[in-house]
Amino acid sequence: MALITVLYFASLRDAAGVASETVEAGGDLRALYEALRARHGFALPQDRLRVAVDGEFARWDDAVRSGSEIAFIPPVSGG
């Protein structure tokens, strides 16, 4: 298991109740999101999100790396 930091934005942060949290996780980023979605009740399915690791976009089947900072990116609405 890896110790990671997860960042939440917009509706994900509202649902999680925190802007970030430290969690123990294994597997890939897709499995991580599904676990956190079950815990926090996120409405958004994984296929509507993007995921970033340490400030760069990543792939959902990337493995979770210990010490990394992971952000789930809901559909954006700037402009």
Partner: protein, 140 residues
């Protein structure tokens, strides 16, 4: 060169525009997005933009770099507001200078379309009826 910026305060487009002009420039196209008083028939009282700052700056810069590569332009810049905005405030500005207008228009359109589609910024609208919510439109 930094061509995409986030701003927590109102910014002056005249100064930004002046930085894009030089003797080679024949055409300058710009776009501004303003906070409307309605969205899909709901009366809007104000809004807030939140960004994942590190990634928004990186992705915004990537879009501006792409525009510099793809179009025959002299220079380009985009600034996006974050934080609380009132009705009528400027939310986003794009400015593009070029020798000719075709490239200026095309690059300006490219930048605003890509920024809206790709940069991790989220809009939180407060409606006149007291409701509020994050906008998470269907991804393209």
């Amino acid at each position: 060169m930094k061509r995409f910026s986030l701003s927590e305060t109102p910014f002056d487009t005249a100064t930004l525009r002046a930085q894009l002009l030089d003797d080679r420039v024949g055409g300058y196209a710009s776009f501004e997005g303003w906070v409307r008083n309605h969205n899909e028939n709901r009366a809007v009282g104000g809004l807030r933009y939140e960004a994942y700052v590190a990634l928004a700056e990186a992705e915004g810069q990537r879009i501006l770099d792409e525009a510099m590569d793809r179009f025959a332009i002299v220079d380009a810049h985009c600034v996006h507001r974050i934080g609380d905005l009132a009705i009528g405030e400027l939310a986003v500005w794009v400015g593009v200078s070029a020798a000719h207008r075709d490239a200026a228009f095309a690059a300006c359109r490219y930048i605003i379309d890509e920024v809206k589609a790709r940069v991790p910024i989220w809009k939180h609208e407060q409606y006149a009826d007291g409701d509020a919510g994050w906008l998470h439109p269907d991804s393209r």
